[in-house]
Amino acid sequence: MEFLAPADLGDAVAAKAAHPDAVPIMGGTDVMVELNFDRRRPELLLDLGRVPELREWDRDGDRIRLGAAVSYSRVIAELSGVLPGLAMASRTVGSPQIRNRGSIGGNLGAASPAGDAHPALLAAAAEVELTSVRGVRRVPIDDFFLGVKRHAGAPDELITAVWIGAATGPQQFSKVGTRNAMVIAVCSFGLALHPGSAQVRTGIGSAAPTPRRAAAAETFVNAALQDGNLWHSRDVLAESLLTEFARRVTAAAAPIDDVRGTADYRRRALGVLARRCLQWAWTDYRSGSVG
């Protein structure tokens, strides 16, 4: 196995162009497990750990550019005010060691249906920045996940950043696992209120081949909030609204039975998470808080 460790982004994308089969490694918390279990024997590892451009985040107006290699720990410590949903998701990831090494970009690179950052990024309408020698492009998160562990990045592209709007309303993230920490999601749910555009956005994790939004649930709740003038009045949400929202989130999932849980349980749990997340976020919205 060969090992390349470019010192800057230019070298990194050049290396990826020259060796499209190279496996990028950042925190290594997915890659090293695969190597140790002998599930993967790459010819070439491309270590991005020394590329400074990937390790920083900046604020550009109302958007955050989060370098792909920024760890969960840093998101929690430095960005929980502006990216509350992602910070909540980050808190549920692994153990302190994994949160220190694991990165948001690595989570996207792995593109697992169970990746915890994904529902939060879907709910926040993030964009994934992909860079190659051919240039830089931004892919809306909705178009990023193509299939189980497959994403929209081309073989010569690297994930270099995620662009996320600073929260303008409350956000929530919930994850069900069969123990109270250090667990892969049985199912998860992210939700963000965007009062400026009068939109609720969602993200479902571990309950379909890819992370996905619950589009019909969003359409329903957006219409209901609009029609009831609720964004303005900040009235309590009707039981019937919560119930129908939860039903539609459940319907948006396409879960399977596996070693971590049954499809039926996942559906039922998602309905509970959807109702609770909407309720919590709305309660925060009513009290005027952001995040």
Partner: protein, 764 residues
Amino acid sequence: MTGPAITEQVGTGTARGVGSSPARPDGVLKVTGQFAYGSDLWMDGMLWGVTLRSPHPHAVIGSIDISAALATPGVHAVLTHADVPGRNLVGLEHADQPVLAESVVRYQGEPVALVAADHPEIARRAAGRIVVDYQVLSPVSDPRTALDAAPLHPGGNLVRRVKIRKGDPAPVADVVVRGEYRVGMQDQAFLGPESGLAIPDGEGGVDLHVATQWLHVDQQQVCTALGLTPDRVRLTLAGVGGAFGGREDLSMHVHGCLLALHTGKPIKMVYSREESFFGHVHRHPAWLQYEYGADSSGALVYARGEICLDGGAYASSTGAVVANAATMGLGPYDIPNVHVDCYGVYTTNPPCGAMRGFGAVQAAFAYEAMMDKLADALQMDPVALRIRNAMSEGSRVPTGQLVDSAAPVAELIGRVRDLPQPPAPPTAGPVDLRQLPGGVGNTTHGEGVRRGVGYAVAYKNVAFSEGFDDHSTARVRLEVAGGTPIVTVHTAAAEVGQGLVTVQQQICRTELGVDTVLVHPADTTVGSAGSTSASRQTYVTGGAVQHVCALVRARVLELTAALPDLPGTPVGLRDGAVVDADGAALIDLAELLGDQAVERTDEWRHRRTYPIDPETGQGDAHVQYSFSAHRAVVDVDVELGLVKVIELACAQDVGRAMNPDAVLGQIQGGSTQGMGLALMEEIQVVDGKIVNPSFTDYLIPTILDTPPMPIQVLENPDPHAPFGLRGVGEAPTVSSGPAVLAAIRAACGHDLTRVPVRPQDIIG
């Protein structure tokens, strides 16, 4: 610590002796990462051994082609069953398991061939080039129908059946309850994978350094397989990273020795985490059908139980587990009429054998659920019902054996009931997710959360039963070095993390009045210590050390006969001196001994036990019982089926707290392991294949799953046992899980019959 203390014996004359909690000799090394475990062994010029395992749970082997593997550069040997020089069958109770499979494989992961190479990666690649022609057979996966399946072994698919019959065969009761329960396959989940180093001696013999639980039973089996006498197969204990029963059977032992003898080079073998799941036996999954009857006052009239245990592909200790599940099958209660059938079978599932609690664990989930059902049917308080029927000293257990020492069942369950309740879940203020079901997953801020409280009391036999010649051997040497008396204690007992090394030191200090005690590495140059299992080592090896210390002490006192001018009558040893009855020092050991050493070696055995009758199960099968009770307080999110154990209180009678800190450690660890089985720990097997062989999906409790544990330790001495002690390590594993299940039932209202309980069971 509460309860009566026993009087100290002659010779208890130094601090850091029995009853204190001195630091472990290996403690600092372990917490600083410097302790050498089996997997850290290293020798210049050594080769790496790997095992090729069957991917199929059941198949006929047509042929094995090793030529490509052997031709791989860097490979020194590729061995199959044809290379086993002795008998190609090993096993703890029955020799039924091939060292390397011959014509058939009976479980996924069964060893088929071995490779030794310069580097583990070369060895793994070469193993991948071995071509095994398998004709796949359908697996025998359901133990309940295994007796009707084609025989997997020459004697058929029944490993053992035990019947217990007592009293009226057709009893009638006012109130009758029934239940069916299912307990899943738990793994020991020790952190140190199977490992060892086999070093050929150049003369046809071998030295094996291995992480194990019982050096001498390993030695016997290795000798049989290699066709060598015990003097040519010497074992030394390598650092053990946890055991819990999973190291009672052989793993790499014979394999490493075969490769070492074949190549003439030291062979190191270390299983990967995934391989470890295939490399040791697990706790038997169980199917239990129970019926209990009581009169209207709540007195038990009868109990019936049928228990089926899945032994998997090879017998291992299934026979003894069956006997335990049967004899402990109804709990620590007085029951006049008893009918228990318990059997263990062969299947093509992963082999099952010893794990902490050994048969008693599975049964306790059923009998404690029955006690709760009965309380419910009688509209009685569940603790009151247990106290009403509690076994006590003078009771006779279902096998007819007299309980001839303290059995404070009623007191233990009463004590956990009477502890203050933990605070109710907060209803206002900021939420602390770590205190809620779902934990940091942020699944509830109090919605759907109900509190439940559950109780369980259980017992477990200590040491080996049914007439087994259960003994240990100790060698104790007292000498003077640099002017200071020093004791060296040498046994073959495996320290697996439980702290036996510390207890051995303490006993020597107490018995010989010498502070500096060295623990010699455990090996086979001293006689057998028996297994580190069945909560027995402090009892049996502790007993042997005490006994041999007494021999040494007697010899030392004899030596004083040559000194007629002593200012008093020598009766004991204290603080490095010979003392009189008032404890006054008469002469320093350093002066008395000079450069002569006093050394004694002897065996020690606990009192005899007897086989049980094959038709009635009657007989004095057990040496001693260990009793514990738990109260679990849980918060359950009844909409998501998630559980937070808020508190797990335990009361246990330990006879004598030899090392109070270690006692608490055992109770905490045992309680956690039992709780883990109740909530999450399960090897999932589908058609004979393990689907979760990793710590990603075989979940064990994290610290956020592990609650505060108020612990009450009773010390009612057992007059038959050394120091009055009772084995501690297993009882809490037996009672904690059923208490957690009971608490979850109380919270969600469902009759949970499956262990581990799953979220979908809780939401119903």
